[in-house]
């Protein structure tokens, strides 16, 4: 982060800053005031989005065909007494507003309700399946980032190489994860027998799913990274680094990559969304247990509490990551903190 990088792109950055943080009236007092306002606005935004998601989930639970009674009391045991007992236990006879407040309260305590199908707390169901999904997501993210760095650093600023890389990236982006997974399975599991066909036992069973998941995300990351490296290679400081006799590889890895990684931080939010969606698909292809499989089975069994539990968890992760990324951007780039005009 030398000041030299700021000079040529100051106009762009200022424009971005203006878009990112519209001027707050009266926020131009002491130095900390704009920062506090910007941080506060992002935190409030995050809370509002989460609250709205929860409210939509509650409305869905209220409106969905098939009442909670249908799901909680098996038809064979449906006596008036059983129905009355369940109604009292779940507070189904109380006003909707009261139920809504209870719902919010339970969520704050980490209680996502009870599965219609499994008759277990949704939180337990999700927590017990979280492990394999987190492993897969982390491994997929690692594959994506490593490949993207290699692709970007090795091809940036080299016309032919970056043309080829561009084509490869575009193709990868167009390949559905599930098909990629099937082709990988066919080649490496069925034909070569290097990796197990299904399951989540040990590292060997993680390789192909992680590659299938990661390749789907590589394209965009590597493109953004390569543009960043190319921009950095044109900067004056690159000339001065070269003049010191630093090798090309060292220059790219130690200097250009560092500058190029800033825009990738803002991509993190998008990456999390991609991982959440991709995990569901990849788990199906490779027959892995996990959150995605739980959600899908629940969807087929019309088990709304479980599905909404997974959806709310996913929204929570998404909002938290995006808020952290926004706040990180404030830390990294002080120009975003004020609404000052260029």
């Amino acid at each position: 982060m030398t000041s030299a990088t700021l000079l040529p792109s100051a106009g762009d950055a200022a424009a971005a800053a203006r878009e990112a943080a519209p001027a707050v009236p009266g926020a131009r007092g002491r130095a900390w005031a704009p920062t506090a306002a910007a941080v506060g606005r992002r935190l409030v935004g995050a809370v509002v989005v989460l609250w709205a998601s929860v409210t939509v989930a509650f409305v869905a639970l209220q409106l969905a065909p098939g009442s909670a009674i249908d799901a909680l009391v098996p038809p064979t045991q449906r006596t008036p007494e059983a129905v009355a007992a369940v109604t009292a236990e779940w507070g189904l006879d109380r006003p909707v507003v009261q139920q809504y407040v209870d719902y919010l309260g339970r969520l704050l305590h980490g209680d996502l309700g009870t599965s219609y199908q499994l008759h277990r707390p949704v939180t337990d169901v999700i927590v017990s399946e979280l492990g394999p999904t987190l492993q897969l997501a982390a491994a997929g993210l690692a594959v994506a980032l490593v490949l993207a760095v290699v692709l970007a650093v090795s091809t940036a600023g080299r016309p032919w190489a970056s043309r080829i890389a561009n084509g490869v990236e575009l193709t990868i982006v167009s390949v559905p994860e599930f098909w990629l997974g099937i082709v990988l399975l066919f080649v490496f599991s069925f034909s070569l027998g290097w990796f197990p066909v299904a399951g989540a036992n040990g590292l060997a069973s993680l390789v192909l799913p992680a590659v299938a998941l990661g390749l789907g995300l590589v394209g965009l990351v590597s493109q953004v990274l390569r543009e960043g490296v190319e921009r950095s290679l044109e900067q004056p400081y690159t000339l001065s680094v070269r003049a010191r006799g630093v090798s090309e590889t060292a220059l790219r890895v130690r200097h250009s990559l560092r500058h190029a990684s800033l825009p990738v931080v803002t991509l993190l939010g998008w990456l999390v969304g991609g991982l959440l969606g991709g995990v569901i698909i990849v788990e199906q292809v490779f027959g892995r247990p996990g959150i995605g499989s739980v959600a899908l089975q629940a969807a087929q069994g019309r088990d709304l509490p479980v599905v909404l539990g997974v959806a709310l968890l996913s929204a929570l992760v998404y909002v938290v990551v995006n808020t952290v990324v926004d706040l990180l951007a404030l830390v990294i780039d002080p120009r975003l903190r004020t609404g000052a005009r260029a």
Binding site: V56, V310, A315
Partner: protein, 301 residues
């Protein structure tokens, strides 16, 4: 059946070509030659795709559901162009007829998403502060859910099927369009010429329809083209995990899910539908990006 469809089709397509050619005889040919070859190939593939969607009978001699117990698991070349599946159905015919599902779902989802997105974007951009803020937050909420998860929630509530997939993909794409229209509307609204039109006493509806809308939606067609590719990918993914059209129908994702069970001895059942998806999505992306580059060029100029 093939012939009856072919005869009316040929003059229809040649007449439209003729009309266009008559307008600019040299212009069109010259323009085509200046296109990058990638864009040219991609456009040709998309034209072919539209023909396949409109007249699948021209391209496939057998029906997508015609089973033949004597001709199961034939490899490509031995039984039809792309082989046959576990029921002796022709894989090529199924891929050809399957194009309809992808195009139908992706186009409807994109159209719905664009419509809702433009309306919401205008509402937010033209409305008061409260409307604007509420709409923007609402878009944030939708954007917090991946398309696949939205579809899973929707399927749980209303059941699986093509309409569910279309609505889920449409909802997931709304923020993309609404945000850009909202931002552009904000810009246009503060511009001098809109202020001038207000002083002329133009009616609000006229002002919006004639001056705000055209400027606010300039980049929407490009976004929609790229969104079309995303929708095709997502739609086939949803069918693959069993939320879309069910297996007897030749939807590409559903075919893959079905063929996966026979991967060990009949790879062609699952590989070729995937190739079709990749070719279509790649073509759409190539054309979309080319449009985007040209557009950005013009904006800067």
């Amino acid at each position: 059946m093939t012939a009856t469809i072919a005869t009316p089709a040929a003059p229809a397509s040649s007449s439209t070509d003729g009309r266009r050619g008559a307008g600019r005889p040299a212009g069109l040919a010259a323009r085509l030659r200046t296109l990058p070859w990638g864009v040219l190939v991609a456009s040709a593939l998309l034209v072919l795709l539209l023909l396949v969607v409109a007249f699948p009978g021209l391209f496939a001699s057998r029906g997508p559901l015609d089973a033949d117990p004597l001709r199961v698991f034939l490899p490509p070349g031995h039984g039809g162009l792309l082989g046959t599946d576990q029921l002796g159905r022709d894989v090529w015919s199924r891929v050809v007829y399957g194009a309809r599902y992808s195009v139908l779902i992706a186009v409807s989802a994109t159209a719905l998403g664009v419509l809702a997105g433009v309306l919401l974007g205008l509402l937010a951009g033209l409305g008061g502060r409260v409307t604007d803020e509420v709409t923007a937050r609402g878009l944030d909420v939708v954007a917090a859910f991946p398309a696949i998860l939205l579809a899973i929630v929707l399927v749980t509530i209303v059941g699986p099927g093509i309409p569910t997939v279309i609505v889920a993909l449409a909802i997931a794409s709304v923020p993309r369009y609404a945000r850009i229209v909202r931002a552009e509307t904000h810009v246009v609204r503060r511009s001098a010429y809109v202020e001038q039109s207000v002083t002329f006493g133009l009616r609000r509806t006229t002002l919006v329809a004639r001056h705000v809308l055209p400027h606010a939606v300039v980049s929407v067609p490009i976004l929609a083209t790229i969104g079309l590719g995303t929708s095709i990918l997502a739609a086939s993914s949803l069918s693959f995990i069993g939320l879309g059209p069910k297996p007897p129908s030749p939807e590409w994702g559903a075919m893959l899910a079905d063929g996966r069970n026979y991967l060990q001895n009949a790879w062609w059942i699952s590989v070729f539908p995937g190739v079709a998806i990749v070719l279509v999505v790649l073509s759409v992306s190539v054309v979309g990006r080319w449009l985007q580059r040209r557009f950005e060029h013009r904006e800067h100029a």
